[in-house]
């Protein structure tokens, strides 16, 4: 909402300084976005001085001028005027300016091979005179110290731009703003002038509001103004309209706009001679069309509120008028409309047709239904003053009686909510100043709500009115109450924060990417999940919710590789989506690692990252989170975007069916499709929702501290097993032979090749044996050795290597 201080003072009698008014506006909830002069096209025209003028290298009649426009650097302008010469003071128009005479918009352009920034203007081009033979020559005594200044004076006042919240339609008019300021103590609200206008004769065009179901119009006021002479607006009106950055069109249009901006009372002027017999306000019928003032043809659906005549639709009530009945300079007779349209109807229709107009914006927030006649009065008075003509009596059709809403306000509610006291007398004054009719009944106020405040419906709204006018600075700052109702984080949230930092501590950079992604990319990682389309995506490459974190992660990895990075480790912890319903999401960690370990390191041999790097990171993270290593179980199963031979899934327990994590090399087809160029790419995913919380709290988890000081013995074994036999199973077989004696099993070599049958491999292990009861004797060790060999051989079909 834009207006000037001068305009405000037409409604407000105040001695406050501009700066005080600005501050007060914000204090009462009318946020000031800016307070400055509106820049006009004419600001582009500067007083300039030619510093140097040289012959154009490729054209005899052109010159290349260095022009001082008051900026740090001079600009180069190609000019064809014979009088362009060194030291001449003239008028410069920069790129973007519109030449007043021919409305040509300037751009930076090459003229015969020399780039010209803007133009030096003749008097004719500036509409100053008919002189078009050369560029404007300015007198040096008057203009020599004005280089860089605007050539045209900008007489407009500073404009206040308010950001009006949707609950305050009344402040979309200057008078409403003045009322709020007056209530807050910034002067007095002026009375509206009540000069009578002569109403001659009845309004002869018949108006009817049809009783349709969901009729969007409840009041239709109008008057006929005959024998007007529409013309350009007088200067005061033109200035007012233009000071807000709007275009002046004609007196009649400007007047309706002026009344709208002044009182938030939208009006519409019809050329009465173009109306076919009568006005019918009715619901539209599907298929009806009309051409609106924005020169677009709209095809209507059922039940849109239209203003029509015998021939068809004239306009959409409260939204936009039609070209068929629009006023023009030669319009003789006007039908002026001042109506009330229901916000719900306006909103529905404008959304369906996708129209946004000033009138729509206002009606959808709620116009004062009791301003119908005031609007007609103010506009018709101005029209007769400026354009002449005779005004008919006002015709007001209503299909619903409007009466002021009442509420009862218990005064104690104010202190209960605001936390401070305001005297009853002051409360009554504030409400009265805002337009409420107040009567006090003991501890209660009976309030009639002003018709321009559709936002006020219940007592809490009254609290807001009082506290905002009284000032939010009166609210006390109370010490925060520190009572805790429950623990800050629940177990799942703790796990989230723990895993997040655990993964980061392994050298991964945490990133946050969109929850949506490119459907093409997503399809590479979606597995069996449903594709979830966004109906209105921000762009076609962000058109689905992600089914996996890898889609975004891999594409951003690619971007970093393209930036020249080679060894990149990234992870994200966040949602992936299973369906488009609330709650159908999982919290997942996705991590990827590319390139090499120890690249360009003088003392360590580099190697490509591999599946065991990913496995180490995922296992270590789980172990750090409190899941014991020996319980974790790995299977070969993994999603299709992993390398089928170099990936696996992790289970919290051997008997679990659902994995909690996957790890592995990324499938080469995927890296190829995304065009990722790196020596190696591995990754892992951890599903937080599947990490069952079966562990105790740490304080309960710590068992008694027991260690054995008896001597440990190490024994090495090498078994030849089937190539496909799992190392994990071998360890498992040995570990479970005697858990009280076998303390650890470590694989230190895996060998295939010479001396080993083709379908076999050799696994070499080191077993640590220790008793907690005694020092084991050679015979005990021999016994356990034999047991290990025989058990492994029976259970796995392996042969001990001799």
């Amino acid at each position: 909402m834009k207006f000037t201080i001068g305009w405000l003072k037409e409604h407000l009698d105040t001695k406050f300084k501009d700066s005080e008014i600005i501050k007060k506006l914000t204090d009462v909830g009318l946020e000031v976005e800016s307070f400055e002069k509106v820049s006009s096209d004419l600001d582009n025209f500067k007083v300039a001085k030619i510093i140097n003028a040289e012959q154009h290298p490729n054209a005899d009649k052109l010159k290349v001028c260095d022009v001082d426009i008051g900026a740090q650097d001079t600009v180069k302008v190609v000019c064809g005027a014979p009088n362009a010469k060194k030291d001449l003071l003239t008028v410069y128009a920069g790129p973007g300016s519109v030449i007043p005479k021919n409305k040509m918009k300037l751009t930076v352009s090459k003229i015969r091979g020399v780039t010209s920034y803007g133009m030096l203007c003749s008097e004719s081009e500036l509409n100053l005179s008919d002189e078009s033979d050369g560029i404007t020559e300015l007198k040096s005594n008057k203009y020599s110290d004005k280089v860089g200044k605007n050539f045209f004076k900008n007489n407009t006042e500073k404009v206040i731009d308010l950001s009006i919240t949707p609950n305050r339609p009344d402040c979309l008019g200057v008078r409403g703003i003045a009322r709020d300021l007056a209530a807050a103590g910034v002067g007095k609200l002026k009375h509206t002038s009540n000069t009578k206008i002569k109403n001659n004769g009845a309004q002869k065009i018949k108006i009817s509001i049809t009783k349709n179901k969901n009729q969007g119009c409840t009041i239709f006021g109008s008057c006929l103004i005959k024998d007007v002479a529409n013309k350009e607006s007088p200067k005061w009106l033109k200035d007012k309209i233009e000071s807000l950055g709007q275009k002046s069109i004609s007196a009649i249009v400007d007047i309706t706009n002026y009344v709208m901006l002044d009182l938030n009372r939208p009006l519409h002027a019809y050329d009465a001679d173009k109306i076919d017999k009568e006005i019918i306000v009715r619901n539209s019928v599907k298929g009806e069309t009309f051409e609106a003032l924005d020169n677009k043809e709209y095809k209507l659906d059922n039940d849109m509120c239209v203003i029509s005549d015998k021939s068809g639709v004239l306009g959409l009530g409260g939204i936009i008028g039609g070209t068929r009945s629009g006023t023009e300079f030669n319009t003789k007779n006007i039908l002026l409309e001042s109506a009330y349209f229901l916000p719900r109807s306006i909103r529905k229709t404008s959304k369906l047709l996708n129209i946004d107009t000033d009138a729509k914006f206002r009606f959808e927030r709620g116009i004062d239904p009791q301003s119908v006649e005031l609007g007609l009065k103010k506009a018709s008075k101005l029209i007769t003053e400026i354009c002449g003509g005779k005004v008919s009596k006002f015709d007001v059709q209503k299909i619903k009686k409007d009466k002021k809403n009442k509420i009862k306000f218990n005064i104690s509610l104010f202190e209960r909510i605001a936390g401070f006291k305001v005297k009853d007398k002051e409360i009554i004054k504030i409400l009265t100043d805002l337009g409420f009719e107040v009567s006090k009944k003991k501890l209660e106020l009976e309030l009639k709500i002003p018709s321009w405040r559709p936002d006020i419906t219940q007592p809490i709204d009254i609290v807001e009115e009082i506290v905002r006018i009284k000032g939010y600075n009166n609210i006390r700052t109370l010490e925060p109450d520190k009572t805790r109702l429950k623990a800050t984080l629940n177990k799942q949230q703790k796990l989230f924060h723990f895993l997040q930092r655990s993964v980061a501590s392994k050298g991964y950079f945490e990133t946050v990417t969109w929850s949506f992604t490119d459907s093409k990319l997503n399809s590479l990682f979606k597995e069996n999940y449903k594709e979830i389309k966004i109906v209105n995506p921000i762009s076609s490459d962000l058109d689905v919710l992600r089914n996996s974190i890898f889609s975004n992660l891999t594409s951003y990895l690619k971007k970093n590789l393209d930036r020249g990075f080679k060894d990149v480790s990234l992870f994200e912890i966040g949602p992936i989506f299973k369906d488009n319903k609330p709650g159908e999401q999982l919290t997942v960690i996705g991590a990827i690692k590319s390139g090499k370990i120890s690249r360009l390191n003088w003392n360590e041999e580099n190697r490509s990252v591999d599946v065991f790097d990913a496995k180490k990171d995922v296992i270590q993270t789980l172990v750090e989170a409190g899941y014991e290593r020996q319980n974790l179980f790995v299977r070969e199963k993994s999603p299709s975007y992993y390398h089928p031979g170099k990936s696996g899934s992790v289970y919290l327990d051997k008997d679990d069916i659902d994995p909690v994590a996957y790890f592995g090399e990324i499938h080469p087809n995927i890296t190829k499709k995304i065009d990722i160029k790196t020596e190696a790419l591995v990754g892992f995913e951890i599903y937080l929702d599947y990490l069952k919380d079966k562990k105790l709290k740490l304080k309960d988890l710590k068992s008694q501290f027991k260690i054995s000081d008896y001597q440990k013995s190490d024994r090495d074994f090498a078994f030849v097993v089937d190539k496909h036999f799992k190392a994990q199973d071998l360890i498992d077989i040995i570990s479970s032979i005697d858990e009280s004696l076998i303390k650890s099993v470590k694989i230190f070599d895996v060998y295939e090749g010479e001396n080993i049958p083709k379908d076999k491999k050799s696994i070499a292990l080191n077993v640590t044996i220790q008793s907690s009861e005694k020092t084991l004797e050679e015979s005990d060790l021999e016994k356990i050795n034999k047991l290990i060999i025989s058990t492994v051989e029976t259970k796995s079909g392996a042969k001990i290597r001799s």
Partner: protein, 355 residues
Amino acid sequence: MSDIKKIKDEFLERLNGDLNIESVNQIKSELFGKNGKISTSFKNLGSLPAEERKKFASDLNFVKDELQVKINKKIEQIEIKEINSKLENEKIDVTLPERNIVQGKIHPVSQVIDELSSIFSEIGFSVEEGPDVENEHYNFTALNTPDNHPARDMHDTFYLDDKKELLLRTHTSPVQVRTMLKGKPPFKIIAPGRTYRSDSDQTHAPMFHQVEGLHIDKNINMGHLKGCLDYFIKSFFEVDKIKMRFRPSHFPFTEPSAEVDIGYELKDGKIVIGEGDKWLEILGCGMVHPNVLKNVKINPDKYQGYAFGIGIDRLAMLKYGINDLRAFFETDYRWLNHFGFDPIDVPSNYRGLSR
């Protein structure tokens, strides 16, 4: 006796020479070996007259000890010398680079969420979460924003079905509704999380983060709201004094509503939060609207309280001097490295929020 002295003097002198370990061992065996001079002397003890034997034995023992000490010392000296010279040869350039460091990073948004959780934990709030995909009811209607309300236009909503019933939440406020529906008052929660609006330019991203706050009890008024936010802002920006301004505003789900500005100044192009004369809007808040309480079956005549919503990304930008919102989500390795936090830097109250 003179023999012993002779032996002693002779060997002591030899041992004073510049010897290697082999020569010392040679001397050792010459003295204490099977036929060594000292060993032989001991063997000869028996042949001495009884009255001399005692003194001789004592002298011999004395000399033996002295020589032995001398030999041990000499061996030790030689060994030290050998080790020193060996170590001298092993000297390398320690200014060569260490093995590669791995240092991961925590994203600024995560760090700030942890900071917020820590701050609000101090005054008794717990953390709640809600789904990213919401339905129209929780995101709007239950929050007193019916379909025909123009405030809906202020949220450019991403929809997931043609009926516009399923959407990506446009704010974290639906968590208020979910929390209140599943429990009984009082409530004292914050709800950080992802939020979405179909809006994208230099200062808007289609996804951003908010933290919702909600405190409902029997007598919570606007003074408590102001106190809570005053505490939060000072703690978060780690300053003792801050200029704060409450301005009336409008949100359908709170009444009265306010926007909060904090004072700042520009120093060398950087925003310095505190007592400058410029205002910066940082959050929206208000008293929970009675209609919202009714929608979650709470009696507004018995319970009341406040709610607030803060942009987390913006907080991170202000605190850590980050200029570009879009960069938060672009995964530029250089940016993550520059603005990311060490994972060990867990914000906590006892140790301070940030380093």
